[in-house]
């Protein structure tokens, strides 16, 4: 997993509430066997006309100023719906490394941090300020500093944020969860020995 330390980039405003994972990456693109290559279909139903396949010029990421956005300022409950990790994979493949909203769906939240994407929860008022900041376009970059837990809005205002200390540690250092858990192999074996005695039918 790629580290996340500090990012200065264009932020795209996406003020859609309950933006679900089918909007982020529709099911028909889930036939892939890899984690890469999904960026071209990120937000497919919003980005392209379903009948012609042409770009929808009104969609934010199709506007010149936002084509290289790496931060998304999103509406409430972003990433609701399915557990498909293809959603963060598509964001990452497009180049998005950070999403800021008032709330995220739980599974999407977990999936994103395992892929080096930082998700930040802010208050409705702060989201409004960031949404306005993002609407200033390509010359208006934001900075997200994970170590300091600070967002610098395009007007220079600073917003601080909370982050789970373990997730912060993993993101800052690009750590693989499995490698860390395997270091606890002895504790897992102890658990299994006790559990097997209590519920032997689960160990056929």
């Amino acid at each position: 997993m790629e580290k996340f330390t500090k990012l200065t980039a264009v932020a795209a405003p996406l003020p859609i509430v309950n933006c679900d994972t089918d909007k982020i990456i529709p099911a028909r693109f889930l036939k892939t066997l890899t984690r890469t290559g999904l960026g071209k279909n990120l937000f497919d139903p919003l980005r392209y006309d379903p009948k012609t396949g042409n770009e929808n010029p009104k969609f934010v990421l199709n506007k010149k100023a936002y084509r290289h956005a790496q931060i998304l300022i999103a509406g409430h409950n972003f990433g609701c719906g399915s557990s498909r990790e293809h959603a963060p994979w598509a964001l990452l493949d497009y180049g998005i490394r950070c999403v800021i909203s008032t709330d995220f769906a739980d599974i999407f939240f977990n999936n994103s941090s395992k892929n080096g994407i930082l998700l930040i929860k802010v208050s409705p008022k702060e989201l409004q300020q960031l949404m306005e900041g993002a609407e200033r376009g390509a010359n208006a970059t934001m900075t997200v500093d994970l170590e300091k837990q600070e967002i610098t809005n395009s007007d220079g205002d600073i917003i601080t944020f909370e982050v789970d200390p373990f997730k912060k540690h993993c993101l800052l250092n690009g750590l693989d969860d499995i490698g860390q858990t395997l270091q606890k192999g002895a504790a897992i074996s102890r658990y299994e020995t006790a559990n097997k005695a209590a519920t032997p039918w689960l160990y056929k």
Binding site: K23, E85, P88, A187, L202
Partner: protein, 472 residues
């Protein structure tokens, strides 16, 4: 005296392997269900790092999302769509390579993961169960802590049999009253989601309780828990009771003889203690509800079938108003239109929400002796080979085919339209599935979520219909 605990607290504590100083927990996972869509990259990760599956026998692999449902579909090798075929072959190859139990497309036990887990008795009270699918919440109907995970977590469970988690908050929804005529578990859960909203359960595990929940069959309880994710919660739970034990007794993967008695003794201790504290409580009385139907593109966008398409103009919250306007534009609906005046092109009876034997029977009651409207294409997709066989033994397939419904092989089918069963741009469906998101059933397709009886009624009349007017 010990602090009273909830069902969730009890399962969580009994699965705690390790807890870090910062509160991060390592919890043990008893069972994992694996399907073709969210697993290939996980197996690939294991290969790249030279890791093996820690307990292969704790997993079960089955193809479901991508499989054709056409009669006489044959084996994996005969699947025409190349991408689907490769993905399904990959699941079989991975199961073999890592030594995991695998059910093939031709096996009568094949079906949707969330239908076959309980059918095979893999789902049991008090266990932790995960799957790379958000509707894993279904298994909570048995008092199992079951939740959907992403592919990285599928790999994590394969390699370590654990997951890194933080405890969820406890929420209880007490459902009072009795479901009235024409209403089912589907109407009950749609009414709950309509009340608490699609993010109402975020960060929580929801325990469903109260007389209306106790009265539900196991199939009905699965429908309720299944859609918990549509309220944003991590998992749904229902306390196991005699009905649960009766359903499980004798299932292939359930304990037998003396071990069955030992299991029962443990399972009976699982229900929440009197006085247990919940972070959030909701109460609902379902005695007065009428059949529910969605009008928009989020499961919370639901109304009574006797109602009209709502008007965003009167909504104060600007975000909610703009979401409603966008939904109506996508759905091509005008505020004030009677729900029963909305014509449908396709009807889908199936999915992990509503494809069990009870759902088949409910739809057949409406279909019996009637004809599907000429303007509608209607398909019935049983949730598993065993559901299909049982339905055929009961003659339900004849009722459906004589009425003009298409009787299919098991799979996820038009719920998420990966296998060719889909809506075309502009088409509208009445569907017993769980999501009415934009494009869910095909790009530009429009979905109205309903119960199996309501779906059958819409197929007959050609428009959304109050099923109570068809059956008396």
């Amino acid at each position: 005296m010990l602090k009273p605990k909830t069902l969730f607290d009890k399962i969580w504590e009994s699965h705690l392997v390790d807890q870090q100083d910062d509160g991060t927990c390592l919890i043990y996972i008893d069972r994992q269900l694996i399907h073709e869509i969210t697993s290939a990259q996980a197996f690939d990760g294991l290969r790249q790092t030279g890791r093996r599956a820690r307990r292969p026998e704790a997993n079960l692999c089955v193809p479901d999302h991508n499989v054709p449902t056409t009669p006489g579909r044959g084996g994996t090798q005969e699947i025409e769509d190349e991408e689907s075929r490769i993905q399904l072959e990959m699941l079989e190859k991975n199961a073999k390579e890592f030594g995991l139990p695998y059910i093939s497309i031709n096996d009568s036990r094949q079906g949707i993961v969330h239908v076959i887990g309980p059918e095979q008795g893999l789902t049991q009270p008090g266990i932790t169960l995960v799957c790379g699918d958000s509707h894993t919440a279904t298994h909570g109907a048995f008092g199992a802590l079951a939740f959907g995970v992403g592919t990285s977590e599928v790999e994590h469970v394969l390699a370590t049999q654990t997951l890194i988690q933080r405890p969820a908050k406890n929420m209880r929804i007490t459902v009072n009253g009795s479901l009235p005529f024409g209403c089912s578990a589907k109407d009950l859960i749609l009414a709950i989601i309509g009340k608490i909203g699609t993010a109402g359960g975020t960060g929580h595990v929801i325990e469903y309780a109260g007389p209306a929940v106790e009265k539900l069959s196991m199939e009905g309880r699965m429908t309720v828990c299944n859609m918990t994710i549509e309220a944003g919660a991590r998992a749904g739970l229902i306390a196991p009771d005699e009905k649960t034990f009766q359903y499980l007794k004798g299932r292939p993967q359930c304990p037998k003889a003396a071990q069955w008695e030992l299991a029962l003794e443990q399972w009976r201790k699982l229900p929440s203690d009197p006085g247990a504290k919940y972070d959030t409580e909701e109460t609902l009385d379902v005695s007065e509800i009428v059949p529910q139907v969605t009008w928009g593109t989020s499961p919370e966008d639901e109304v009574a079938i006797t109602s009209v398409v709502p008007d965003p103009a009167g909504v104060q919250d600007v975000n909610r108003r703009s979401a409603m306007e966008r939904s109506l534009e996508y759905m091509d609906l005008k505020p004030g239109t009677k729900m029963v005046d909305i014509a449908v092109d396709k009807v889908f009876i199936g999915s992990c929400t509503n494809s069990r034997i009870e759902d088949m029977r409910a739809a057949a009651v409406v279909a019996k002796g009637r004809r599907v409207s000429d303007s509608v294409y209607a398909l019935v997709v049983p949730g598993s080979g065993l559901v299909k066989l049982q339905a055929e033994e009961e003659g339900l397939d004849k009722i459906f085919t004589e009425a003009g419904f298409h009787w299919r092989e098991p799979g996820c089918s038009m719920c998420l339209a990966m296998n060719g069963d889909m809506l075309f741009p502009g088409e509208r469906s009445a569907s017993t599935s769980n999501r009415n998101f934009e494009g869910r059933q095909g790009p530009g397709g429009r979905t109205h979520l309903v119960s199996p009886m309501m779906a059958a009624a819409a197929a007959i009349t050609g428009h959304l219909t109050d099923v109570r007017e068809l059956i008396n």
